[in-house]
């Protein structure tokens, strides 16, 4: 590290990868330091808008292939921490940032109604930390750094879930359950990293990939792989490790659920993909049989069992939580097919399901604002008095089912194609059949919202514009991405190609954008 090396000052474009993280990260403590209830929301919103702009700039630079590598503190990897952005994580970055930008205006109204005033500033600080953590998990190219960011996002998530306690005390036990399960997941993950570090002596993902490939068959590496997959499966709520999810989603404040449902499990699925394909090479994973014999069957089970449970719920929010577990099943099924279309389906469903669920959970928040609850008998008929909210539920519900013309159809279409690519025609039938279950559980909500007499105890008024606009941005984009798939499918295909190629190797040049 001589002085000459430092002569070239980095431009602000070179700093984008770290600005992506540092802007929301800075906002969190700054909100606490200022301690102003009035300034908290604008600061959080400004930071997330900045993060979205940066994420889009990063995506535009890597969407044609190649990657950006940023060296923390000027220390070159594998010694230093590296941020590495390629098409796969840039897409997830855009998703998380976009959800944050849309959910925050919604949160302003929703949180004001659901969380005591004195907690507001801290709430937005926690929200920003959670956001930072999720972005960090996705952007980093250092395996241990993934763990650190995972803990940042998880710890703040527990607090966010517990903030639902002012409405329903069960939020506290839900948050505690989530804390225990999440900690076990994180522990498994870090134990796995410990095994890998023991076998290879490095923590940089690209370097790990190189060294694991050199090691050949190695029991320590296999044990590490098992721990990492299970740890991440817990975080992603893979069936049957999903037990923390329904309660956490149900009792958290509506805005928190909307944000988490669209981002948190998605980040975990992304990490799983990243480790399976970029750290452990695709051949290693194929040899282990994990994808075909463990993830695949469990994914199919999730699709049916969780959907089946969702059908019998009488609580809108809880039903959506179970539906999320089923939808994660589709993403994992895509991984288990282990082909290009399968990974494309996983990536595109990650995005499409994120926007669909954000729309639905925000609509739940609007119903909570007017009726105070989410049970079917209490939200009955509200679709007639809240036409915009009700229509958004229908549109997003169609996307959840996978009706043509919505985003949900695109991902299921690719998933079915992937099943046919592997010659698994019965798997394609299973995907259709589980979608029929989705028809039933979505119909039950629509029936409650439209075909029953309005609940006389509820406030008969449409939700405020601050809620309707975010809900419809998300509901509208489920339709938009059902027709215009160039962004989602394009990026997802590029991501799948990048993932199937395995590791892109150690970067030699500082902050390089290779083409």
């Amino acid at each position: 590290m001589s002085a000459e090396l430092q002569s070239v000052a980095l431009s602000w474009q070179d700093q984008l990868p770290v600005l992506q993280i540092i802007i929301p990260f800075f906002a969190g403590p700054l909100i606490v330091l200022l301690g102003s209830r009035r300034l908290a929301w604008p600061m959080a919103f400004a930071a997330s808008v900045a993060a979205l702009v940066i994420a889009m700039m990063l995506l535009s630079r890597v969407i044609d292939g190649g990657f950006i590598s940023y060296h923390m503190g000027g220390w070159a990897p594998p010694i230093g921490i590296e941020y590495r952005i390629d098409a796969a994580n840039a897409l997830v970055l855009v998703l998380i940032a976009a959800i944050a930008v849309v959910v925050l205006p919604f949160a302003k109204v929703s949180i004001a109604a659901e969380v005591p005033r004195r907690h507001h500033a801290l709430f937005y600080a926690m929200f920003m930390l959670c956001f930072t953590g999720l972005m960090g998990v996705v952007i980093t190219g250092d395996a241990f750094n993934v763990f650190v960011f995972l803990e940042i996002s998880s710890l703040s998530t527990y607090v966010l879930v517990a903030k639902g306690a002012s409405k329903d005390k069960r939020a506290l036990t839900a948050a505690y359950d989530y804390l225990i399960m999440g900690t076990i997941g994180a522990t498994f993950f870090v134990i796995g990293l410990g095994f890998l570090y023991m076998a290879t002596g490095t923590l940089n993902m690209a370097d790990l990939a190189d060294r694991i490939a050199l090691l050949g068959p190695n029991r320590t590496v296999q044990a590490g792989f098992a721990f990492i997959v299970i740890g991440m499966a817990l975080k992603a709520a893979m069936f049957p490790l999903h037990h923390w999810l329904p309660n956490a989603y149900n009792y958290a404040p509506s805005a928190v659920t909307a944000f988490l449902a669209a981002t948190a499990t998605k980040a975990a699925v992304y990490v799983m993909l990243r480790f399976m394909f970029s750290v452990f090479q695709p051949e290693f994973v194929a040899d282990s049989g994990v994808a075909a014999y463990i993830i695949g069957p469990l994914a199919v089970l999730a699709m049916f069992v969780a959907s089946f449970i969702a059908v019998f719920q009488n609580n809108f929010k809880r039903m959506l939580a179970y539906s999320s577990i089923a939808q994660i099943g589709y993403m994992l099924l895509g991984i288990s097919f282990f082909n290009h279309n399968g990974l494309t389906a996983t990536m595109v469903h990650l995005f499409n399901h994120g926007i669909t669920k954000a729309a639905l959970f925000m609509a739940v928040g609007a119903l909570v604002l007017r009726t105070g609850t989410t049970f079917y008998d209490r939200i009955a008929g509200m679709g007639r008095v809240m036409p915009f909210t009700g229509a958004a539920v229908v549109v997003a519900g169609l996307s959840l089912i996978g009706v043509p013309g919505t985003a949900g159809f695109i991902s299921k279409w690719v998933l079915v194609q992937a099943a046919f690519d592997n010659g698994l025609w019965w798997m394609a039938l299973a995907i259709m059949a589980s979608s029929l279950l989705a028809v039933i559980y979505v119909w039950r909500v629509v029936e409650a919202l439209y075909l029953k007499a309005p609940n006389p105890e509820a406030v008969h008024k449409e939700a405020p514009l601050m809620m309707i606009v975010p809900i419809w941005i998300m509901a509208g984009s489920t339709v938009w991405f059902g027709f215009d798939t160039s962004l989602t499918l394009g990026a997802a295909e590029m991501a799948a190609t990048a993932l199937l190629n395995g590791s892109s190797g150690l970067a030699e040049i500082a902050t390089s954008a290779m083409q």
Binding site: A9, V18, G28, L30, V32, L33, Y70, M72, G73, A510
Partner: protein, 146 residues
């Protein structure tokens, strides 16, 4: 604890020494074992000891809870701010060399001092906040309610 004269006198003597030692560990951290984490804990111990002997009310008059909350945030901001300062000077995030381009090792020294200061403040805040949280808890059923 009002009647424990010896405890109170010794505590008053010790608190200053502990804080002094915390500063030593803090600012000598880059030459000898120590640094922000250790110094922060030692610093917090001074307040916790004071609180144990004189009571929560007294220590919260010295270090009110709202100050502790600001400390948590301030330390993190100093850490991150050091990195942002490096970026403004044209280096990578937390690249301390840029503080002193002609003598990178000097830059590393000053960088680590700023960063450790942030760590020290936050760790002090966290330890004291945890103590306040536990000490401030009221039992679900008071002693007189049985």
């Amino acid at each position: 604890m009002h009647h424990h004269l010896i405890l109170r006198v010794i505590t008053k003597l010790l608190v200053g020494t502990i804080i002094l030692f915390a500063f030593y560990v803090q600012f000598h951290g880059d030459f000898s074992p120590g640094g922000g984490f250790q110094a922060g804990v030692i610093m917090a111990v001074a307040f916790i000891l004071y609180g144990l002997v004189f009571g929560l009310n007294h220590v919260q008059r010295v270090l009110p809870p709202w100050v502790v909350h600001k400390m948590l945030a301030l330390g993190v901001l100093i850490y991150a701010g050091t990195g942002v300062w490096n970026m403004m000077l044209g280096g990578e995030f937390l690249n301390y060399n840029i503080f002193s381009p002609l003598h990178p090792s000097h830059g590393q020294h000053s960088g680590i001092l700023y960063v450790e200061l942030g760590v020290g403040i936050t760790v002090t805040g966290v330890m004291v906040a945890i103590y306040y949280a536990f000490a401030g808890r009221r039992p679900f059923i008071g002693d007189d309610d049985w």
